[in-house]
């Protein structure tokens, strides 16, 4: 999987690139629009991550260029400019997703994976982890071929944990992914706890190993023991 990151902020670009490389992507990082335009003219990418406010203009230019060249790649806009118009304009121009700064790297990872799944396999693929199988298109989860019934939140929680497997995810990170700004943070932690508890129980009852590890004081990690 090849990604292009357009981000003018050195320290931020560096940490995003490092994270994505750690996730097993090939990630090229450019710092301004002309460079990005050069890259997309020559190479093919699976997904392009764009900042909007750049020294030489708006990242939306790159979205336009990608659409003109009819390149089949996912586009995620990463921007602090979280005004509604920018968001709508970006999505209108053909961006697949919009992630306002500051964001969690794991959230970015989850969005990239989701776009790649949709693009590559028309959403038909399965995510397999040992005895666990998730079919995102049908929102189905199977353990050893037996379907388990999860609530929407439990399903989203499992998918998010699995997408970011082997990584420690903070409680606020997961809560934000599940609830957005819907509910005040303080209460979401209680829900999260009960969601995790229920999910664990359902999985273990169906014969799965308990992959969800609690990391003391911080959050959770989905990994093989």
């Amino acid at each position: 999987m090849k990604l292009l990151l357009l981000e003018d902020e050195i320290s931020l670009g560096e940490v995003i690139r490092q994270y994505l490389v750690g996730e097993g992507y090939v990630c090229e990082w450019v710092k301004d629009i002309p460079e990005a335009l050069d890259k997309i003219a020559v190479y093919e990418y699976d997904c392009v991550l764009l900042d909007l406010m750049l020294p030489s203009g708006s990242g939306l230019e790159v979205v336009k260029a990608l659409k003109i060249q009819n390149v089949e790649c996912g586009i995620i806009i990463l921007s602090a400019k979280d005004s509604l118009e920018d968001k709508l304009l970006g999505l209108d121009l053909g961006a697949d997703d919009y992630l306002p700064k500051p964001f969690h790297l794991s959230e970015l990872n989850s969005r990239i994976k989701s776009i790649l799944r949709r693009r590559r396999f028309n959403g038909e693929n399965e995510i397999v982890f040992n005895e666990l199988t998730i079919i995102p298109a049908a929102q189905e989860v199977k353990v050893l071929g037996n379907p388990i019934v999860l609530t929407r939140k439990e399903y989203n929680l499992l998918l998010y944990l699995l997408t970011n497997k082997n990584r420690v995810l903070t409680k606020s990170n997961i809560a934000e992914h599940l609830y957005g700004d819907e509910i005040d943070q303080a209460d979401t932690f209680n829900f999260l706890y009960s969601h995790v508890k229920n999910l664990r129980k359902k999985m273990v009852d169906t014969g799965s190993v308990d992959y969800i590890q609690s990391v003391y004081g911080i959050g959770y990690k989905f990994a093989e023991k």
């Binding site: 490092q18 903070t170 700004d181 509910i183 943070q185």
Partner: protein
């Protein structure tokens, strides 16, 4: 009150007062003059009678050559001179009328007489009345003419002012072009238009720079926050961290979350204040409210809150959908957050208002302070205390009236739509 009405009113009041005082004074002065005239006339006739008696040594045979109404009465002694107003019965008019009478002593051939002369005063009354009425009529006519002319001229003169006012009322802070005013040759109005042009241009440019400032500030702050957050996220992946170190990092992450939330919220407040959410749509509040409640279901269940709703269908208001979402999130969120366990939540939506009541502890501060920024109860360290400030700002933007009170353990928030 319109300017022209005010000017006309002042004009009319002044004229009326002047007219009344003028008429009053006129009557007094006129009467005084007539009275003096009458007295002078009587004194003249007295002189004439005395001269006649002195020259002819007898009373006049034909009294009417000297005066219209002169008569003599013989007296035993000489009476002094006397001037007084008396009523005499007038046979022609068939009523008692006012006369001025002068009487004085005359001696003729050793006989003593009193001569009396009458002068009718009632004629004076009639004359005064006629003159005053005429004068009053003329003045009234002049005043009316002046008034009408003044009214018409004022209306014409102030026309550019009204046009300018009209242009100004169409001014929007977000508009791209300068205001255009109708031409006028009155220098005061020209000056007014110039000042207004300068002012509105300044306001527009300030607004633009403020708008871009908020966006830039957001960008400049969010980026470092992103850098810190992302690095902390990377850091906690390290397997070699001790429990203590993890705890410290977790505190950093929590605080960072607060800072970035605070930044977003303050920016949101500024944006609402600057009216940067220009898009208002006719929104079905009933539907949005029902959806929101469905989303909050888990939370409500979690706290075992008894929810009672009376939601009138198809209640529509004009609002930015984004702001409506924030508004409902905040008020419903508060009603759940500050509710007691096994508490109560009543939601009542009617055509013109939304009332949300919830059980909860008595607030730590007065109801007036409720909507202030950074207001939070002692027990809510996590809260930013900006939720109700945002709610209030949104309500102000759309001229909704918001009120809060606390009675019988119930917090009650009412939003009245216009």
């Amino acid at each position: 009150m319109k300017l022209i009405t005010k000017a006309s009113r002042i004009f009319l009041i002044t004229c009326s007062i002047a007219l009344v005082i003028g008429t009053f004074l006129g009557v007094i002065i006129f009467k005084r003059i007539m009275s003096d005239e009458a007295t002078e006339h009587l004194l003249n006739q007295r002189l004439k009678v005395e001269n006649y008696v002195l020259q002819n040594k007898q009373l006049p045979t034909n009294q009417f050559t000297l005066s219209d109404s002169l008569w003599f009465t013989s007296e035993s002694s000489i009476k002094g001179y006397e001037l007084k107003d008396t009523l005499f019965y007038n046979y022609i008019e068939a009523e008692p009328l006012m006369y001025r009478k002068i009487s004085f002593g005359v001696v003729s051939n050793g006989n003593k007489y009193t001569a009396s002369i009458l002068k009718p005063m009632y004629e004076t009354e009639d004359l005064t009345e006629a003159i005053v009425l005429t004068l009053f009529g003329i003045v009234l006519l002049i005043v009316s003419a002046l008034f009408v002319t003044n009214y018409l001229i004022s209306k014409r003169l102030w026309q550019p002012f009204h046009q300018t006012l009209e242009s100004l009322s169409g001014f929007k802070i977000t508009q791209r072009d300068s205001l255009v005013f109708a031409q006028t040759d009155v220098s005061e109005f020209n000056q007014l238009q110039e000042q207004l042009s300068d002012l509105t241009n300044k306001v527009r440019s300030d607004y633009q720079s403020l708008k871009s400032f908020t966006e830039n500030a957001s960008h400049e702050l969010q980026t470092p926050l992103s850098v810190i957050g992302s690095n902390l996220e990377m850091l906690i992946q390290d397997e070699n961290l001790t429990e203590n170190q993890l705890k410290q990092i977790s505190q950093l992450i929590d605080s960072l979350g607060k800072v970035s939330k605070l930044n977003q919220t303050l920016l949101l407040l500024t944006k609402i204040e600057n009216r940067q959410f220009a898009t208002t749509e006719k929104t079905d509040l009933s539907e949005v409210l029902e959806n929101k409640l469905a989303l909050l279901h888990t939370w409500v269940n979690h706290k075992s809150i008894d929810v009672k709703t009376v939601i009138l269908p198809d209640v529509c208001i004009h609002i930015s959908p984004y702001l409506l979402e924030i508004l409902l999130n905040n008020i419903l969120g508060n009603a759940i957050k500050y509710n007691t366990h096994n508490g109560k939540l009543n939601i009542h939506l009617s055509d013109d208002k939304l009332v949300i009541e919830n059980l909860g502890a008595k607030p730590d501060y007065s109801t007036e302070e409720m909507f202030g920024r950074f207001r939070k109860g002692r027990s809510n360290g996590d809260s930013l205390g900006l939720g109700l400030a945002i709610v209030k700002q949104i309500c102000e933007t759309y001229q909704f009236e918001i009120s809060y009170n606390y009675t019988n353990d119930f917090h009650s928030l009412t939003i009245q739509f216009k």
